[in-house]
């Protein structure tokens, strides 16, 4: 399964990861239910404000799910940044991954590759990580 995502969203996520550095940034991309299309980006607050952890604020999380339901949308992408490690799901990412239908996107600007950015996508289902291709559209 390939993640198809617009260049504008990739740029916005990279920009957000730089703006919130050294903390991890996070957010979602929503799309019409059943479509699997990443159409509406929504940055979320990392309530942990941490370089090694992220968590959506529980109040924002409820509001997000209500909004998604009201608009007949689904969560297509859940993204966050890694600031010092590669763009691969950490043990905690795998342990807490609760949306088997979502693409989990990781971006990293770790020093070894700076100023380049890694942008990778995965499925995380029952503790199993499967990397998938990312197709960026203009």
């Amino acid at each position: 399964m390939t993640l198809v995502i617009s260049r504008a969203f990739v740029d916005a996520i990279v920009e957000q990861s730089r703006a919130e550095y050294p903390d991890e940034c996070c957010g979602v991309i929503l799309g019409p239910v059943g479509s699997g299309k990443a159409e509406r980006l929504k940055a979320m607050v990392n309530v942990a404000h941490s370089p090694t952890f992220y968590e959506f604020d529980p109040k924002d999380l409820l509001a997000l799910y209500r909004e998604v339901d009201d608009r007949d949308e689904e969560i297509v992408v859940i993204y966050h940044s890694h600031t010092e490690t590669e763009a691969y799901p950490s043990r905690t990412d795998i342990a807490y991954a609760g949306e088997p239908g979502a693409h989990y996107v990781l971006v990293s600007s770790r020093k070894e590759i700076a100023p380049a950015i890694e942008f990778r996508s995965y499925r995380i289902i029952d503790g199993v990580v499967t990397e998938e291709e990312v197709s960026i559209t203009d």
Binding site: T52, P58, K59, L61, I78, H80, I94, G98, E99
Partner: protein
């Protein structure tokens, strides 16, 4: 006493893919017990050593139960309970 409980995708295998189920109980702990008797195994996904799991969020109507007394939070007929796994990681 009938409480509407909204089940997240990841727990729907327990509820035969039902998104909304009904449960009974005057406090959240009783609602969870009732859910677990209807859908065996779901309780363990919500509780750990008798406490709410850290990365499971439960809301009564619009309020996070952590601000309503946790498992002792009171529910009444017509209330809606929403279960959402935290979106979190490292």
């Amino acid at each position: 006493m009938s409480i509407e409980v909204r089940i997240p995708t990841i727990l729907r295998p327990f509820t035969k893919e039902q998104k909304v189920v009904s449960a009974n109980g005057a406090a959240l702990t009783a609602v969870i017990s009732d859910l677990d008797s209807q859908f065996p195994g779901i309780g363990e996904r919500l509780l750990e050593n008798g406490a709410l799991r850290r990365f499971i969020n439960i809301y009564i109507n619009d309020e996070d139960v952590r601000f309503l007394g946790g498992l002792d939070a009171q529910v009444k007929d017509g209330d809606s309970v929403t279960i959402l796994p935290a979106v979190a990681g490292g």
